[in-house]
């Protein structure tokens, strides 16, 4: 090979690849709205993204698969956990992970910040990214099912939407903090105590690892009724 050929290989290789790459970049921007809800990218989502950066969440949690591998991926966290679980974990990680082997720092995230964070994660979850990560597809499907039922959600949907980030019910939700079938059997709270428990678990049972839940009193009441009905169901079965 002569020096001239070598030089030609350099320029041909570099320029052809650069041109293709720049063209694809242009096209990426053109097509982006097909995959990303750019129209839903509002002030609150941007505010949530700033919170995400401010606390450097990304060096522990991956998002879109990028970042630190020290904690769960956040791409579809909104579907996996739901808004209230996100808010309660982010504001009170020291309680949520009191008894587990890996801790998330208490970052002093305020209520407003946590709400914006949830909006940001909701927007991120809606990115159409070819069903990645694989392990969260089931949560995406379950969420979509609940959405389809949004007209008349039954109390089970409401309970799992709010609490499914940590609790399970059979196949639904996450098996992190106990199954509602077992919990409902175990507890002896009345309806009012249960509502109070949901809003401030420590005030009912000291030292419990569940962080306060950020849901309205009406929703809490519906969920309390649901848990008590589970208990009644089981007793009838017996």
């Amino acid at each position: 090979m002569t020096g001239k050929t070598a030089k030609a290989i350099f320029w041909l290789g570099t320029l052809s690849s650069a041109i293709i790459f720049l063209w694809l970049t242009y096209d990426f921007h053109q097509q982006e709205p097909k995959f990303v809800k750019t129209d839903k990218l509002n002030e609150q989502v941007v505010a949530g993204k700033k919170v995400w950066h401010k606390h450097n969440c990304n060096d522990c949690h991956t998002i879109l698969g990028f970042g630190g591998y020290y904690a769960p991926d956040m791409t579809k966290a909104y579907y996996r956990l739901g808004e209230s679980a996100i808010i309660s974990v982010v504001m009170n990680p020291e309680q949520a992970y009191k008894d587990t082997f890996r801790k998330m720092p208490h970052l002093g995230v305020t209520k407003d910040e946590a709400v914006n964070m949830a909006a940001f994660l909701k927007w991120v979850a809606s990115i159409d990214n070819r069903t990645w990560p694989p392990q969260d597809e089931k949560f995406v499907k379950a969420f979509q099912l609940r959405e389809a039922n949004a007209q008349k959600p039954d109390s089970k949907d409401i309970a799992m939407g709010a609490c499914g980030g940590c609790h399970s019910l059979g196949d639904l939700g996450n098996k992190l903090s106990g199954d509602f079938n077992d919990i409902s059997q175990r507890i002896s709270y009345d309806r009012d105590t249960l509502v109070k428990f949901i809003h401030a678990p420590q005030s009912v049972r000291q030292g419990i690892a569940m962080p306060p839940q950020n849901i309205s009193s009406e929703t809490a009441a519906i969920i309390a009724d649901f848990l008590l009905s589970l208990k009644a169901e089981k007793e009838v079965q017996k």
Binding site: A18, L24, E32, D59, F66, Y69, T100, K103, P105, P133
Partner: protein
């Protein structure tokens, strides 16, 4: 034994790089402790994994850039047969760069961060880095422009450092849209390590090979053209291997997959030409350790970037391995194999000359080399095993993140163990470099 007075500036660059290297690895050990043991909430609250990771990766990039810059300042006078354009600029630039690095690390400790992985340095400090980079590129460019003897090597180096500096700019703006954010994040990360840095590495390695082996310049420069041409051909469009799962058109699976699968080709060529030049050497082997490092660089570059990059670059595989410890496995092997070793080649080439030593006593250095290389191979393999396990437990058996991590604990402890060995190797090497002595005949 240096041939030009201005080469001396390199000394401070290399010294600082070596110190940051130690800090980087120490911080890596601390990350492994975070993985392997449960730390108290109070500690996690004030000094978290996130902060430690930011320090680990930023000191990594900082010492490597210092090595590139110091290395360039060392070889340019020889290559251009003249003094550097300005020694003052070189010192000023070092001062700005080092000051910014210290400010950044202290800032991280107090939560001052841009909050994007690998690009944590806050924007105001980014501007200082840009100033330092501009001074550097200017100094290199002027030295090259003013020389009477042009060479391919000179402008390849200049192209590499200019490309590197330009890409840094893409990491500075705030993106409202996470999808675009990561699209351009990779312009910094991927186009650095699989583009600009490869150019710089190829140019510096070519220079040192010519100097050390004495083979004909024409031949080496031909290889240099072909290798860098292939690097950029595969590496530019190859950026697409990071665009599979961030929300993008389907064609990225093809463009990214095929081009990135070709990326090992130029690295393989580098192994071939290094080996051929060493075999066809015209000079005697004065310092065998330097030759070991040169061959080690070629082989480990191929292992970490070529082999371990290739195995997870195709979309059907990457779907399962993406965002797992498999990436950590590749990241460690590739950074060490390509850029840590390149820098060490530069150090072992330059430091003896700066100290006026022709043949140095290399016993401790040999131990350092083999300790680091062995430990890093284990670290890479262990991260790989942990990653395969994670993928299997979390994505096939569907056990959830926490259960998967719990079952990976043994491997995290193993990484910590080999991390300690690696640090010992680093300390031996750094100590050896700082205290180089003439070999007793």
């Amino acid at each position: 034994m240096i041939r030009y007075e201005s080469q001396k500036v390199a000394r401070y660059y290399l010294g600082l790089a070596l110190i940051l290297f130690c800090l980087q690895v120490a911080m890596g050990l601390w990350l492994a402790v975070n993985y392997a043991f449960t730390l108290p909430q109070g500690l996690v609250d004030v000094f978290s994994f996130a902060t430690s990771r930011a320090i680990h990766t930023n000191t990594l990039v900082a010492w490597m850039l210092l090595g590139f810059m110091g290395g360039s300042y060392f070889i340019l006078p020889i290559e251009c047969k003249r003094e550097l354009f300005s020694v003052k600029i070189a010192y000023l630039q070092l001062l700005i760069f080092a000051g910014t690095a210290v400010a950044a690390v202290v800032g991280f400790l107090f939560g001052w961060t841009q909050g994007r992985p690998l690009l944590e340095i806050p924007v105001p400090l980014d501007f200082l880095i840009v100033v330092a980079a501009l001074l550097f590129v200017f100094n290199v460019a002027m030295t090259i422009i003013l020389t009477k003897e042009r060479s391919v090597l000179q402008w390849m180096l200049l192209a590499g450092v200019t490309f590197l500096a330009v890409l840094y700019l893409f990491g500075m703006p705030f993106f409202k849209d996470l999808n675009q954010d990561y699209y351009y994040w990779w312009w910094v990360i991927h186009l650095w390590v699989e583009g600009a840095w490869e150019l710089i590495t190829a140019a510096i390695a070519a220079f040192i090979i010519i100097e050390v082996t004495g083979v004909e310049r024409k031949v080496v420069e031909k290889w240099l053209y072909v290798e860098t041409g292939l690097f950029l051909f595969t590496g530019l469009v190859g950026t697409g291997h990071h665009y599979y799962w961030l929300g993008s058109p389907n064609y990225w699976l093809w463009w990214g997959g095929i081009f990135s699968a070709l990326e090992p080709l130029p690295v393989a060529l580098m192994v071939l030409d290094t080996w051929m030049h060493i075999k066809g050497r015209k000079n005697p082997i004065v310092n065998p350790l330097l030759w070991t490092y040169i061959m080690g660089l070629a082989l480990f570059h191929f292992l970490g970037a070529g082999v371990f990059g290739f195995i997870h670059t195709l979309p059907p595989i990457n779907y399962y391995t993406h965002g797992s410890q498999i990436t950590a496995s590749h990241g460690h092997l590739a950074f060490f194999g390509a850029y840590a070793l390149l820098n060490l080649v530069v150090f072992y080439f330059a430091m003896p000359q700066l100290k006026g030593i022709e043949k140095f006593d290399d016993r401790l250095g040999v131990w350092g080399f083999w300790t680091m290389v062995t430990a890093m191979i284990f670290i890479g393999l262990i991260f790989g095993v942990a990653g395969i396990l994670q993928t299997y437990l979390e994505r096939i058996l569907d056990l959830g993140y926490r259960t998967a991590q719990l079952n990976m604990m043994f491997w995290f402890k193993a990484v910590l163990f080999f991390g300690v060995i690696f640090l010992i190797g680093v300390l031996m090497t750094v100590y050896h470099l700082f205290t180089l002595k003439k070999a007793a005949d």
